[in-house]
């Protein structure tokens, strides 16, 4: 059978296509971006709806709409996207679904490209939905159809959780059969979609009543297993890719009994058996101590090892090395870390328009005693690093505008916001309306490079609509200033910035120039 060398993300995408999805809804975010990108480019998926969404909440809701009429839909996001779509996600578990609905969250322990390392499994538990966490790329592929079947069988969304190393590691995948897309079909129990309190209370009780059955499914799932061993001094529970690091430590096979967890809620009977038969239990999981905390409980079982008692590092991703140490092995390092090697942080590309923006902004705010520049999430966050050192904050998508407003409300001046085009439509627009309504004295620099650049150049939802959007939200037309950020226009940009910072109200400066990376790519294509 033919094998394909695929990233975990790509295996998931192909698994979803072959599971008969009718749509994928997503906002780009590392390490999840390649799933949707693969579906967009796949010849097998020409009938699958796959345009990028404005944010994770609109994605989740659109997918729920597709599910409502009976079709299968996939939603993809990075872990922090779960925060954005949480309202829709949690409530979709209360309403339940019609066509299969799988929500994929790609977590980023060690924060390779993120501002925190939150573990999406907590969301799954919170919403009381089944979760899947593949241990290998092949399993990720195989699990996708199962995820949709499970979703349809239980009439609930299923959370599919991966971490960076699964998302961005390639392996050879053996492919399975394709399943056709669902036909549209009316929902059963149409009232359950109207979450008025009386209906929501009924539905919530139904969800609660479903829980013992969902645990039983986990206990019997082929993706979970109990593997016996000869040495019962230790038992190991390993979830997702932690299973691989555990096996890696024992090339000849582990002497310790072990439970592999790739489906949640936790398979209670398998874990109870392990706890009973072993003196101690080591919990291995890539991410936060989700399983470990549940096992310890409030009163803390002293026979459990993991991240919470220092056996493994409390923060950061699991590795084959920290797993080895936790299992009592030595590290066989032969060469010391070099003392002359220095960090090489990422930086904005040569020729990037954000550079011109920061050069001018730095010059102008130096004219004021106490300017603060609130920024946001994207390539321009790199303006925090030398040589620019230009920004004072980066918290979450859209926060630059609202933080500038809050600071301005408290008397801060100048209060400047720097936000990218895609981040602006993702979560900045609503905050701008707040600022307009209170006539806050803020200057928003909407640095528009016509793309979602940080994640590799995906379409940006508001391209060529920003002046209209800002005007529609109530920004005065004479305080919407568009400029091309190139060296030649330096003086013009600086004058505009000075004028608008001094304006007593909301102004939006839009430096607009195509991302240098997407420009290079399109020039290359033309050749």
């Amino acid at each position: 059978m033919e094998k394909l060398l695929l990233l975990g993300d790509e295996a998931i995408a192909l698994g979803a296509i072959r599971a008969g999805i009718s749509g994928v809804y997503a906002y780009p975010g590392t390490p999840s971006t390649e799933i949707t990108a693969y579906i967009q480019n796949s010849k097998e998926a020409t009938s699958v709806y796959s345009n990028w969404c404005t944010n994770e909440k609109t994605a989740m809701e659109a997918a729920l709409g597709m599910s409502y009429v009976g079709k299968r839909a996939l939603v993809c996001m990075k872990h922090v996207g779960m925060n954005v779509c949480a309202d829709a996600f949690i409530n979709s578990a209360v309403s339940g679904i019609n066509g299969g609905l799988v929500v994929l969250a790609a977590d980023d322990p060690s924060m390779h490209s993120s501002q925190n390392e939150q573990d999406s499994r907590f969301y799954g538990k919170f919403a009381m939905v089944p979760m899947l966490e593949p241990s290998s790329q092949q399993e990720a592929y195989d699990m996708m159809n199962y995820a949709f079947e499970l979703s349809e069988e239980l009439r609930t969304p299923v959370l599919f959780r991966i971490t960076t190393r699964m998302a961005h590691s390639r392996a050879a995948i053996t492919l399975g059969e394709s399943r056709p897309q669902n036909d549209m079909k009316p929902t059963d129990d149409p009232r359950r979609w109207v979450l008025l309190p009386a209906i929501a209370r009924r539905r919530y009780n139904e969800v609660l009543g479903q829980q013992p059955g969902i645990i039983k499914i986990s206990e019997e799932s082929n993706f979970n297993l109990y593997r016996d061993g000869s040495d019962h001094s230790l038992g190991v529970i390993a979830s997702g890719i932690a299973w691989n690091y555990f096996n890696e430590a024992f090339p000849e096979g582990s002497p310790y009994p072990a439970v592999k967890v790739s489906q949640y809620p936790l398979p209670k009977s398998l874990i109870a058996k392990l706890m009973k038969e072993c003196d101690r239990v080591l919990v291995l999981e890539d991410g936060q101590p989700f399983i470990e905390e549940q096992l310890r409980g409030l009163l803390d079982d002293k026979n459990i090892d993991g991240r919470l008692n220092g056996k493994l590092p409390r923060a950061g991703e699991l590795t084959p090395d920290n797993t080895r140490v936790a299992l009592g092995f030595d590290i066989n390092q032969h060469f010391e870390e070099s003392k002359i090697v220095v960090q090489r942080p990422p930086s904005m590309c040569a020729g990037c328009g954000h550079r011109d923006v920061y050069e001018s902004l730095n010059k102008i705010i130096a004219e004021y005693d106490n300017a603060k520049v609130f920024s946001d999430i994207g390539c321009y966050t790199l303006g925090a690093l030398p040589p620019f050192n230009a920004i004072d904050s980066c918290i979450d998508m859209g926060a630059s505008i609202t933080m500038a407003k809050g600071a301005s409300d408290a008397g801060q001046h100048p209060a400047v916001s720097v936000i990218g085009d895609s981040t602006f439509t993702h979560s900045g627009m609503t905050g701008l309306l707040d600022a307009v309504n209170t006539k806050s004295k803020i200057t928003v620099i909407l640095s528009d490079n016509l793309t979602t650049a940080m994640t590799g150049g995906q379409d940006s939802a508001g391209t060529y609509k920003f002046e209209a959007i800002c005007q529609g939200l109530g920004v005065e037309p004479e305080h919407i200033r568009v400029v091309v950020p190139i060296a030649k226009n330096k003086e013009e940009i600086e004058n505009i910035l000075r004028e608008e910072i001094n304006y007593d109200g909301v102004s939006v400066v839009i430096p607009r120039r195509e991302c240098i990376q997407t420009l290079k790519r399109s020039l290359k294509k033309k050749k």
Binding site: K3, L5, L7, T30, P31, T33, E34, H112, S113, R165, M166, H168, S169, R170, A171, A172, I241, N244, Y245, N247, E248, T319, P320, D321, R324, I331, N332, Q333, H334, F335, E336, E337, S338, I340, V341, V342, Q343, R344, P345, P346, S347, M348, C349, C379, L382, P386, M454, T455, G456
Partner: protein, 195 residues
Amino acid sequence: MKCDIILSGVGGQGILSIAAVIGEAALAEGLEIKQTEVHGMSQRGGDVQSNLRISSEKVDSDLISLGGADVIISLEPMEALRYIPYLGKDGWIVTSNAPFVNITNYPEEELLKEELATLPNVFSFDVEAIAREAGVLRSVNIVLLGAASSAVGLTAEALEIGIKRVFSPKGDEIVDMNIKAFRAGAEAVKGGLKK
């Protein structure tokens, strides 16, 4: 067979093409493969690496353990040194000797040379000069792969199949250029890597 390879460089230098070629070659040979990549923020001029593990047996971990790499293939000398804690006792470093200086505190080139010289198995060379001489300046990364080819546990024939698979979507001309680059690199290490 089993070979654990660390590929390193600076974002944009082209380590992922090297990884793709080795990966496709290993796939064609029916071997097991796992290969991690760096996507996202670091690609913007930061340090990037790829762990590539190929084996005739099942490969468990996607990541290589400390002290476990059979070879470090690097497009940049400081980036090669960054991963020496992962280098096996008898492992090789095959690296370009050309610093890529995009930071202000880049170490002195002489110090890099000295430190590389303290390691037992190093082949550091002017990859770009070889590429220029062969007229394949756009395939510097594949020249480097050619030089490291005897350390990656695959035959030259298999690696050339990998090159064909990876570059054929870009046309025959690009395939030929990369085959030429690969051979020029292999030629630069006459008789393979030796102590």
